[in-house]
């Protein structure tokens, strides 16, 4: 990815951060904080999710930001230095290193060398490390044991990784247990009901069509199907992950109290003693 593009994207994110917090406050905080969040950029991925995450994290824990740019093509470093001067002015330190070995080794080496920098977290886009699935992430874990600080892997929203992120943000509602057992129970009942109906169809038809009081039988059967099979279809879609919008469940139409029949206070004469 072009370095120019990367620095432009980063500037956009920064300016968004300024508008939220105020330029002066951001600069003040970044300069004064002893603890830093280390944002590792490699220029390999255009995605700026790691940068956004690092800035949000720094604001939340009240830390400054340091950027480690691992350049694969060192010739572009001069351009990057130029474009990141502004960051220096607001207190974001940056370090540009040529990336000679594997990225993880470079990060570990950098954090070891910069003991004085008080790095609380290292943040990197997981794809920069070649991690594209949860499985990759697990395999990769033991290599990081020598790292002196927690490493946060930020990934582009994907089905699996977003679940991990939801756990991080304690959004447990999204992970609520799906009603698999209920679906199976209702499913079995539904199959049983249909099997009974279709396997004995001639006997059932003969009784159900007698008319008069027997008319209650098809009606009762229809109710039974609506309860059993209706329950099954309801849980079936839930298990499939198809639900109504959360908004619809949150914002119920609340019945407004109508005031037509309210008694009006009547003025009364008060006798004075």
């Amino acid at each position: 990815m072009e370095i120019k593009e990367l620095s432009k994207q980063f500037e956009d994110i920064m300016s968004a951060s300024f508008t939220e917090e105020g330029r002066f406050e951001t600069a003040k905080r970044m300069l004064n904080e002893r603890h830093k969040v280390l944002l590792v950029l490699t220029g390999r991925e255009a995605d700026m999710n790691a940068a956004k995450y690092a800035l949000n994290l720094s604001r939340r824990i009240g830390a400054g930001v340091n950027i480690l740019y691992l350049a694969k093509d060192y010739s572009e470093a001069s351009f990057l230095e130029e474009s990141m001067k502004e960051l220096k002015a607001i207190g974001i330190g940056y370090h540009i290193r040529p990336c000679e070995g594997p990225i993880k080794e470079e990060i570990i080496k950098f954090i070891d060398a910069e003991k004085e920098a008080y790095i609380s977290f290292a943040v990197i886009d997981s794809r920069d490390l070649g991690i594209r699935s949860v499985k990759d992430q697990k395999m990769d874990l033991h290599d990081w044991e020598s790292l002196k600080c927690p490493l946060v892997l930020v990934s582009k929203p994907s089905k699996f990784l977003s679940i991990r992120r939801m756990i991080m943000s304690q959004n447990y509602e999204s992970l609520k247990k799906k009603p698999v057992v209920k679906m199976i129970a209702y499913g079995i009942a539904s199959v049983g009901l249909y099997a009974a109906l279709l396997l004995n169809q001639s006997a059932i038809t003969a009784v159900f069509t007698r008319g008069a009081w027997y008319a209650a039988l098809p009606i009762a059967t229809a109710f039974a199907i609506s309860f059993v099979h209706g329950g099954f279809t309801n849980y079936f879609w839930s298990v499939m992950g198809i639900e109504a919008t959360k908004k619809s469940l949150r914002t119920r139409v609340v019945e407004e109290k109508h005031v037509y029949d309210r008694e009006r206070p009547q003025p009364r004469l008060r006798a004075r003693l």
Binding site: I204, G211, A215, P218, W237, I242, A244
Partner: protein
């Protein structure tokens, strides 16, 4: 009533795998549309069953018997989203029930006077006139809302609804939560009655019920279409019982259609939470207008049977009948397609928003 109904139980068809699959699929699509717009599906199911060799009255009875449990499940689902006004549904449904009885009575009289072709012609003309007027209005309104760019804004009351809500007839005023106003029951009587009559004639009362709740009483589209499910339940229950008394309900057919339609209705009901209100009107308008053409194709057939126009050849009649049925199926599929597409889009947008929220909070 219906003392003249013949005892047709002996004519119940044999079911094979293909028939079962066909009814299941048509049931699913019909259920999907019903869950979304409050009614529909029945107009394809009845002729669909008849094409399998089910006698007309058994098809109508079995369709009715699948309708009320389906409407019940749909109404319960949509009540969870706060879209159902049970009181309005029951009041409307009771008058609709009266309309069903009266509509069936008229049908019988026409049949006695002019025979099957006369009765069919009456049904088709009712179809064409009502669908053209109401369907045209609903579709025009939906397109107007869409073009105005205010699709997301709260729906405005029509001028008729404003007037209806302003009329005060002492002793008849009832408060309905979906209208957020008191309305005289006397206005609901003719609307319910017309809905029932249409249901008895073309099997889909909702084509009058939903637009009248929206445009005449002033209910929001979401609540109008959801409340129609309660109306359909009340009407369907009464109608099914009436047919069951004569032994006309084939519970196997009703059960198989229900197997599919209960999947569909859940999906359609959920779909309403993803869309803007005008889309409900749009789907309803589109279906009504397409169905209108389907019935228009049948009018020459009945006219020729009555001897009012030149007699058509058997091949022409067959072509017209098949075209009519194909257009009807197309109407239902179009409705189902719009619902599914809107739901897919809505879900995608919601997921993207969620991802964003989670990310920003992290």
């Amino acid at each position: 009533m219906h003392n003249s109904i013949p005892f047709e139980a002996a004519n119940f068809i044999d079911l094979n795998y293909m028939n079962v699959l066909y009814l299941f699929i048509v049931g699913f699509i019909g259920g999907l549309v019903s869950g979304f717009i409050g009614s529909g599906g029945a107009f394809v199911l009845t002729p669909g069953m008849m094409s399998l060799g089910v006698p007309g009255l058994v098809a109508v009875a079995s369709n009715m018997c699948h309708k009320f449990p389906k409407a019940l499940v749909g109404a319960i689902k949509r009540a969870k989203y706060g879209q159902v006004d049970i009181k309005l549904g029951i009041v409307f449904g009771i008058f609709a029930e009266a309309g069903v009885f009266y509509g069936a009575h008229i049908q019988e009289k026409i049949k006695a006077a002019f025979g099957d072709a006369g009765s069919n012609l009456y049904v088709s003309v009712a179809f064409v006139v009502i669908l053209a007027v109401v369907g045209g209005l609903v579709l025009r309104d939906a397109i107007k809302t869409y073009k105005s760019g205010n699709a997301g804004a709260e729906e405005k009351l029509s001028s008729i609804a404003k007037w209806v809500q302003s009329v005060n007839i002492p002793g008849t005023m009832v408060y309905f939560k979906c209208l957020k106003a008191k309305v005289s029951v006397l206005f609901i009587v003719p609307l319910g009655f017309a809905t029932g009559m249409l249901a008895a004639t073309i099997a889909v009362g909702g084509f009058i019920g939903v637009p009248s709740m929206i445009y005449v009483l002033g209910a929001p589209s979401l609540m109008g279409s959801a409340t129609e499910l309660v109306v359909a339940f009340v009407m369907g229950l009464g109608g099914s019982f009436k047919y069951a008394l004569h032994g006309l309900v084939d519970i196997r057919l009703a059960g198989i259609i229900l197997a599919g339609s209960l999947f569909g209705i859940q999906l359609g009901a959920m779909g309403t939470t993803y869309v803007k209100p005008f889309l409900i009107k749009f789907v309803m308008g589109v279906i009504m207008v397409i169905v209108l053409f389907s019935r228009a194709f049948m009018i020459p057939v009945y006219l020729s049977q009555l001897g009012l126009i030149q007699t058509l050849t058997d091949t022409t009649v067959k072509i017209l009948k098949n075209t009519s049925f194909a257009i009807m199926a197309f109407a239902l599929l179009t409705g189902a397609f719009i619902v599914l597409q809107a739901m897919y889009k809505g879900r995608k947008e919601e997921r993207a928003m969620e991802e964003k929220e989670v990310f920003e909070n992290a």
